[in-house]
């Protein structure tokens, strides 16, 4: 059994083991590799100054997946089988020795030409995020920059640079494809790893079965997927995790299956991967799904991790609850499936038994229905919701036959609104029903005040979102986010 993490940093193959493997990627780059172009702005995945580019082989062994990741909340042990690039790898052309390559990467040139840097500290992170975005035709404009903060420029020149350099950057990525594919194929991808990193023991399974066995035999271990939350426990809470088991390396869980029952999202699938399939199933949810973290967070964080974590302000659960999703939990070789809403018991308490892990979430095909999700926060992108509302109304012959309404940020868990649902069920969605639903919603929840919003605001908005739902029903919905 191998016991070292292997990956490529630019043109250098790297093998890391021992305590070094438990370092954050950012610290490792800056302290151990003197790659100081990658900056620390916040050390919690919220500013993007540490953004690096990561390339992985998809489950098909062929497709390359390019991601922008926050190096501060990635740990070296998460990099096995990965090609990473930092800002230092862009200039001078790539692969090395290509004399025809320009001295600067097209994205770098564009940033200079458009005056995209002022203090320059956030610039490398922006360029890496922009380079990743250029490889993804579905992303552009502000969404491509949703995980990066700049305090100097006001963003206009950066957006202009992104637009200008996207085609050349896509071409740049294409020329690297073969080299990277060969490198990643040559890395061992199939054996589980066990790393003794001093204070932390790390298990890296390769299959769901291996993961199941590890979980069952080590029920106290911390299951780690994208580390978008656990990274903050470590970096900010000063926590040392005695035992970590990775879930995202089980390649047979890195699946998004669409069949006649619906959509099954495996434990290893990230939000970025799931977005297209989720959007096909829940087209109306796309604007909200795109506001779930910035791009780097969506590239690292998994759908199942967002659920398993049990945060009352996770954006995934209310949307999935409204869509009547179910969850598969696995212990060893036994599995049980439960409605997603039943998984959340209380604040910090989920129905996950010792040794179990969330293996998949299933979203059924949706009935003909009115589906809406709304996220209310101080900032549009990369903010935690003050309120997240998801509703599904099934209307048959003018009567609401089924209502599913779930909120995040309104209670200790993501929670349905039984009184409001009852107020709407079996009635036409008229002014009377609306008024009843509005009153009911204030009975369904007793939110708290925190720095994101007051309890009063949360309740008022919850009421008003029933109005918005009514407007949607009437085809008159309006939003400033359009």
């Amino acid at each position: 059994m191998t016991n070292a993490i292997r990956f490529w940093l630019g043109n250098a193959p790297c093998t890391v083991t021992g305590p070094e493997a438990a370092m954050s990627l950012l610290d490792w780059l800056r302290l151990n590799r003197a790659r100081t172009g990658t900056k620390e702005g916040c050390n919690e995945g919220d500013c993007g100054a540490c953004t690096i580019l990561a390339v992985r082989l998809d489950a098909d062994g062929e497709t390359l997946v390019w991601k922008a990741l926050n190096a501060c909340i990635q740990y070296v042990y998460m990099l096995d089988n990965t090609q990473i690039f930092t800002i230092e790898d862009l200039a001078g052309g790539y692969p090395a020795g290509n004399a025809a390559a320009p001295a600067l990467h097209p994205m770098q040139t564009a940033m200079i030409d458009h005056g995209g840097s002022q203090c320059g500290f956030c610039t490398p992170g922006f360029i890496m995020a922009m380079t990743a975005a250029a490889t993804d035709p579905a992303t552009g404009g502000p969404d491509a920059l949703s995980g990066n903060l700049c305090r100097c420029t006001g963003y206009a020149p950066i957006l202009r640079a992104l637009e200008e350099a996207t085609p050349a950057t896509k071409a740049w990525a294409d020329t690297l494809g073969t080299t990277i594919r060969d490198r990643l194929r040559a890395l061992d991808r199939t054996t589980p790893l066990h790393i003794d990193a001093g204070a932390t023991r790390i298990d890296i399974p390769r299959t769901a079965d291996q993961l199941a066995e590890l979980c069952a035999s080590h029920p106290d271990a911390t299951l780690l997927a994208g580390a978008t939350d656990i990274g903050i426990w470590i970096n900010k809470g000063g926590r040392t995790l005695p035992h970590v088991i990775l879930t995202t390396t089980a390649t047979d869980l890195n699946t998004i299956r669409e069949d006649d029952v619906g959509l099954t999202i495996g434990a290893a699938a990230t939000w970025e991967q799931a977005l297209p399939a989720l959007t096909r199933l829940l087209p109306a949810a796309e604007p909200t799904l795109r506001r779930l973290g910035g791009r780097q967070v969506r590239a690292a964080g998994t759908v199942c991790g967002n659920i398993a974590n049990g945060s009352p302000i996770g954006d995934g659960p209310p949307i999935l609850i409204a869509a009547n999703a179910t969850l598969t939990l696995r212990h060893g070789n036994s599995r049980r499936t439960l409605p997603l809403e039943d998984y959340f018991i209380d604040y910090g308490k989920q129905d996950r038994r010792p040794g179990e892990f969330v293996e998949a979430v299933h979203v059924p095909h949706q009935p003909e229905s009115l589906f809406r999700t709304w996220k209310i926060s101080k900032r549009h992108d990369q903010d935690i919701s003050a309120i997240l509302c998801a509703c599904r109304l099934t209307v048959t012959d003018g009567l609401i036959t089924d209502a599913r309404i779930a909120f995040g940020g309104m209670a200790a868990t993501s929670k349905r609104a039984p009184r409001a649902e009852a107020a709407l069920t079996g009635t036409p969605f008229d002014a009377t029903a609306l008024a009843r639903a509005q009153d009911a919603i204030t009975q369904d929840y007793a939110p708290i005040s925190d720095f994101r919003a007051s309890a009063a605001y949360r309740l008022t908005v919850a009421r008003n979102l029933m109005t918005r739902l009514h407007h949607a029903h009437l085809g008159q919905e309006e939003s400033v986010h359009a």
Binding site: T38, Q118, G120, D143, G154
Partner: protein, 801 residues
């Protein structure tokens, strides 16, 4: 009308001097400096209560932690335990007894690695006695808490009588929040001990001379032993004018005791909890006016939260007073300040330095008059803008006012009148149809006084060397924080010598090259240092010219430095020699090719005791118009369009100035909309990281953003190439965003009531304002204060599990 320049003298736009370094990740910030052998890494231990007393501190477990080399406290300071930048002696580096804010420093740990230092800090056993904290303006006023610095009154005429005699009068209050700088590079310093008492401190500071002085008196050594140096900062915005000092002092103290290099880069959360922010204000106003919207008299009381020490609160609130007129003439006026001491972080400089706060109150007064009279706010503005010859509240005669022209020009360019009419119609239609979106538009000007109010700060030095190969090195007292100052300074030298910018090298700002410098602040960097660079470079150029005249028998009056060459008219006709060749000859002829330069701003004076004088050399002007749309169900909004017309004189670098305008505006819009600082009831800052404190992202910039510089209008004053300062004024332009939001809210009762929308206008604040208007209540609310209980766990600050 606007005075046009006969000939364009604006330089061709040049890149930011560090752009290529920025984009390749090779621009060096403090934490990127290569590590000298034996470097120690530091972490501070901080107070976790806002008010009380330190009873005991057991640091034995900290000292015993792995990798820890030393732990230092106040007892280890050889000199003064004081970092007050104004000599108020109210800002100890380390707490010794009294705790007056969360985030004060108890001790500092030095360890072999940063991770070890941070882990060790958590082992401290600290016992404190807690007292009730005074956290905000209202509580401080009720408690009659002492002021952080003395309040001041600025008067001209008899405001009370003028208001009483005016046909109409009204009173109100505007409340506006503070703001975290959120420079992307946090506070950082590296101290390297040298021979004897010598020490070099690399610090991310806007004010190296002050950092040098603080370290010197901390260590009780003369200033000539300490060198403070900074090549660039990853953002400053005022947050590193004084706030860099404590980080530098901690590093220096450890280096002093251990004789090892010591590095400290604050964790972001510590940085946000420890360092001062923009002052939040509550401003009470009474105005007397007439039916034409003309102001007769103004009385304002400007209260602000200073935090636990004076820091720069005095000058900040003075600047709020001097700009509480924004661009408007108050025939009679009384302005009073109330700088309140509170048990919160000590507020400090932030881009605009009190101007945005004072100007916002002036714009609210204009808005109130517009609602009261039914006039368009722009009409009210134009009826009250300064005419040349009128006196400010501080008795300075305005001589360069172009506000009316800029407002009129911008209104025409952006179609204000037509668009406003269309928005009103669309709002009316939306109301009829029961729709929820409402639109608003507003235009605000800015008139920004340029110069430090502390007159002695208005001086600068530079040092220029020409080497024998013809290359030039320049150095000056200003610091680079992204604003492009160094680029502009290189342009100045390049122009004097007729060289391309690539032949000019600019080196780190260092107190051993140019001493006794002023903070790079007050937008003055280019004005002051540009003239000093010009002075130094011109001296050398003149020496080279005189030498060339003699050597080549040329008429000195004909000698031109151009295109890396020196052109001369001699008896034998035109002679062209390369700059480098002539320089080499000059060297051989023993001509000095090095010079210092100096500049002091003329004409200015200021008497803080009377609040009168001529504190500003000139004013920078601008105007902006914002159009927004709000959702009346949730209070959410977006900025659809912004048009800006800004006065940078004859811009030294239009591309860089445009960057300052766009960036300043977006930062200002952040202050007025989403950026909200929340302290809980015990005085713990709950918005101490970007996860909880939200600055604008790319999505939040205006959908349409038109920025224009006023063209061909030179500064009337003899500034560097007739340019104007541009760092801060655009920040205040963002006021139009708040008033556009207010305009949209006001549509809910048909513009009968001034919504009195306060800042930050988060969706919650906007919705509360909407609900007030809907309920038909006269708008008496002041913002929405979220009461945050202190008991709920903070997963970031409290160690988990």
């Amino acid at each position: 009308m606007l005075e046009r320049s006969p000939k364009p003298v604006v330089e061709k736009p040049t890149l930011h001097e560090s752009a290529a370094l920025h984009v390749t990740g090779t621009a060096t910030y403090i934490d990127d400096l290569p590590e000298p052998r034996g470097t120690l890494h530091l972490a501070p231990g901080l107070t976790r209560i806002a008010h009380g007393r330190l009873v005991s501190m057991d640091l034995s477990a900290v000292r015993a932690a792995p990798g820890v080399i030393t732990v230092l406290t106040a007892a280890d300071i050889p000199g003064q335990n004081d970092t007050s930048p104004i000599g108020a002696h109210d800002e100890p580096l380390f707490v010794t007894d009294s705790i007056t804010s969360e985030g004060q420093i108890l001790f500092v740990v030095a360890a072999e690695t940063r991770a070890q230092a941070r882990a060790a800090v958590r082992r401290a056993v600290v016992e404190t006695e807690t007292l009730d904290p005074i956290l905000d303006i209202d509580t401080a006023r009720e408690a009659r808490a002492p002021c952080a610095v003395p309040g001041r009154t600025m008067t001209r005429g008899d405001a009370e009588a003028a208001i009483a005699a005016a046909p109409r009068r009204l009173s109100g209050r505007i409340v506006m929040g503070g703001q975290e700088h959120f420079y992307l590079e946090g506070q950082a310093a590296l101290a390297l001990p040298g021979e004897g008492p010598e020490m070099i401190v690399w610090s991310s500071t806007q004010h190296p001379t002050e950092t040098q002085a603080m370290v010197a008196h901390l260590l009780d050594v003369p200033a000539n032993t300490i060198t403070a140096s900074v090549r660039r900062m990853g953002g400053g915005f005022g947050g590193k004018e004084t706030q860099a000092n404590q980080t530098a002092c901690l590093a220096a103290l450890v280096a002093h005791h251990t004789r090892r290099p010591a590095r400290l880069r604050l964790d972001r959360d510590d940085d946000m909890v420890m360092t001062g922010k923009r002052h939040d204000f509550a401003i009470d106003y009474t105005v007397g006016f007439d039916d034409d919207g003309k102001i007769h008299g103004v009385d304002m009381l400007l209260a602000c939260r200073c935090g636990w020490s004076a820091d720069l609160s005095g000058p900040v609130i003075d600047r709020a007073l001097t700009h509480a007129d924004n661009a408007y003439f108050y025939p009679a006026v009384r302005l009073r300040s109330l700088p309140l001491r509170t048990n919160t972080v000590s507020n400090t400089a932030f881009r605009g330095f009190g101007v945005p706060q004072g100007a916002l109150a002036a714009e609210r007064v204009i808005e109130e008059i517009a609602f009261a009279t039914g006039l368009d706010p722009n009409t009210v503005r134009l009826r009250n803008v300064y005419e040349n010859g009128q006196l400010t509240p501080y008795h300075m005669t305005v001589e360069d006012s172009i506000t009316a022209a800029i407002l009129t020009d911008l209104a025409r360019r952006c179609g204000y009148d037509t668009r406003k009419a269309a928005l009103r119609a669309s709002n009316a239609k939306a109301a009829e149809e029961g729709r929820v979106l409402r639109r608003g538009i507003a235009m605000t000007p800015v008139k920004f006084g340029i110069s430090f109010t502390a007159t002695h700060y208005n001086q600068a030095g530079a040092l220029v060397h020409v080497y024998t190969d013809g290359s030039v090195q320049i150095n000056h007292g200003g610091t680079e924080m992204g604003q492009g100052l160094h680029t502009k300074m290189m342009q100045v030298a390049a122009r004097v010598f007729g060289l391309p910018q690539s032949d000019i090298r600019l080196t780190a700002t260092t107190t051993d090259k140019v001493p006794n410098t002023s903070a790079t602040a007050a937008s003055s960097g280019a004005d002051l240092n540009g003239m000093a660079v010009l002075d130094a470079a011109t001296k050398i150029r003149d020496r080279i010219r005189d030498f060339a005249a003699e050597r080549y028998n040329a008429d000195p009056g004909t000698i031109r430095f151009h295109n890396s060459e020196i052109h001369m008219e001699t008896g034998q006709g035109t002679l062209v020699e390369s700059f480098a060749a002539v320089v080499r000859q000059a060297y051989l002829a023993r001509v000095s090719l090095s010079s210092s330069g100096f500049y002091k701003t003329p004409e200015i004076s200021w008497d803080p005791a009377t609040g009168r004088g001529h504190p500003f050399y000139y004013f920078a002007y601008g105007a902006a118009c914002a159009e927004i749309v709000i959702d009346t169900l949730t209070g959410e909004y977006r900025i659809d369009r912004v048009d800006i017309l800004h006065d940078a004189g004859l811009s030294l670098n239009p591309e860089i100035d445009r960057g300052q305008i766009e960036g300043g505006f977006v930062q200002g819009a952040g202050w007025l909309t989403m950026e909200e600082l929340v302290w809980d009831k015990k005085g713990a800052l709950r918005t101490h990281a970007p996860s909880t404190y939200k600055i604008p992202t790319a999505f939040d910039m205006p959908r349409v953003f038109n920025v224009a510089l006023l063209e061909d209008v030179p500064n009337r004053k003899a500034t560097i190439f007739r340019s104007k300062a541009v760092g801060e004024p655009p920040f205040a332009l963002a006021a139009c965003v708040l008033f556009a939001l207010s305009d949209a809210v006001a549509s809910l009762d048909d513009h009968r009531t001034c919504p009195r929308l306060d800042a930050p206008a988060t969706p919650e604040t906007v919705l509360a304002c909407i609900e007030r208007l809907r309920a038909g209540k006269s708008a008496t609310g002041h913002g929405t204060k979220i009461e945050v209980p202190a008991t709920d766990a903070d997963p970031v600050r409290d160690p988990v599990g």
